[in-house]
Amino acid sequence: MRKALAALLAFACISLVQAQMISAPGINFLKAEYGHTFSYTEVGRSFSGFRAIGFGGYSFNTGEGKSVEAEVVIINQLVKRWNNQDSQGNISVGAGIGRGRAGNREGWASTVSALADWEDRHWHIMLQEQAVFVPSGSRLASTLMGGWAPWLAEYDEWAPWIYWTLQHENGEGSGFSHGPSLVLMHQDLLLELRVMHSSHGYHAEAGIRSLF
């Protein structure tokens, strides 16, 4: 319990952001990332008041120590948005409750997340925190991403972005990883492919986001 509180406090102190998919009311979202040690999937629907409700599945597995997994009902809330003529900034938070396990021990699980991002049509920077609390274990993943669009594309064209990602996960066998990624956006779809380097060596990761 102490560990969970400490992690929660640390999380709150690192004023973050999580790139939560909060869309206009009545729009569904899918957000998933498959990583070397941390993977997750979130599916949900946005409602008025910049609130989204859905399901999330999270998995931390370093191959060392206990793996941590959780399946939760999530609620995401856009706290603040800045709309400028050529740019937009967002701060959103999220929380979830459900079932989870650390190794063989199963029980109630909860998640908290926060995301902040700023973007114009050429640049994007995002800070995301995702924490998962399960019986006798907790994990915190912090992600900082900076992206640049080599050229500007319209909504109905393929828009390429080049990102650099820096990620940190706590827990046994975890640590810092970083690497470049290529993001392609086309209408309602975002595909991401990245190569990350960590103490485990190089590994490929992939992500997808979509509105439907």
Partner: protein, 188 residues
């Protein structure tokens, strides 16, 4: 002698001022944006102001003057169309559009998901037949079904609920497709 000299200087000054100002026959520039780049006038420094064929022109910077000089006819037509649009817009504030095309300028429209959000939101409306979003111009172009109307206050409410700020609404007289093509060309 000194008085005559002062008088001459004053006369020269007045002549210069009169020459620099648009005459009464010159049509005033109707927009607060550069007709070439669509940038807000003043955002790139002091606007470039001149008169072309009795039309006052205001551009955001010197670079846009080159583009203007390359095809002045095209930009004069755009000014003419925009002038008509703004007049229509001002007479339609808070009322029905009375037309079939609505052009929204939206703040915060910067990425594909923003475009997707706003496209889906407007596409759901029963009175809307087509939606086109142009990110470069921060524009949402809406074609209404025959006989349908989209009042400005309703458009503002929808844009706000989708998470953006509505900056301007116009009701252009051109067709949906022709405006769409112009927006596409200008964003290249």
């Amino acid at each position: 002698m000194k008085k005559i000299l002062h008088l001459c200087i004053c006369l020269i000054g007045l002549t210069a001022i009169a020459g620099a100002s648009p005459s009464n026959d010159v049509k005033p520039y109707p927009l607060d944006r550069c007709i070439v780049s669509d940038e807000k006038l003043g955002s790139m420094g002091v606007p470039v102001v001149f008169v072309y064929q009795d039309q006052e022109i205001k551009l955001c910077c010197k670079a846009c003057r080159k583009d203007f000089d390359a095809d002045p006819k095209k930009y004069l037509e755009k000014i003419k169309a925009s002038g008509t649009d703004s007049k229509k817009s001002s007479t339609n504030e808070g009322q029905s559009s009375g037309g079939t095309v609505v052009k929204l300028t939206v703040d915060g429209l910067v990425c594909n998901f923003c475009a997707s959000n706003i496209t889906k939101t407007f596409s759901k409306l029963p009175e809307v037949s087509a939606v086109y979003v142009n990110l470069a111009a921060q524009t949402v172009l809406i074609e209404l079904k025959a006989g349908q109307k989209l009042p400005e206050d309703k458009a503002k409410e929808i844009v706000t609920e989708a998470g953006f700020n509505l900056r301007a609404v116009t009701y252009p007289s051109e067709s949906f497709d022709s405006i769409k093509e112009t927006l596409k060309k200008n964003s290249k």
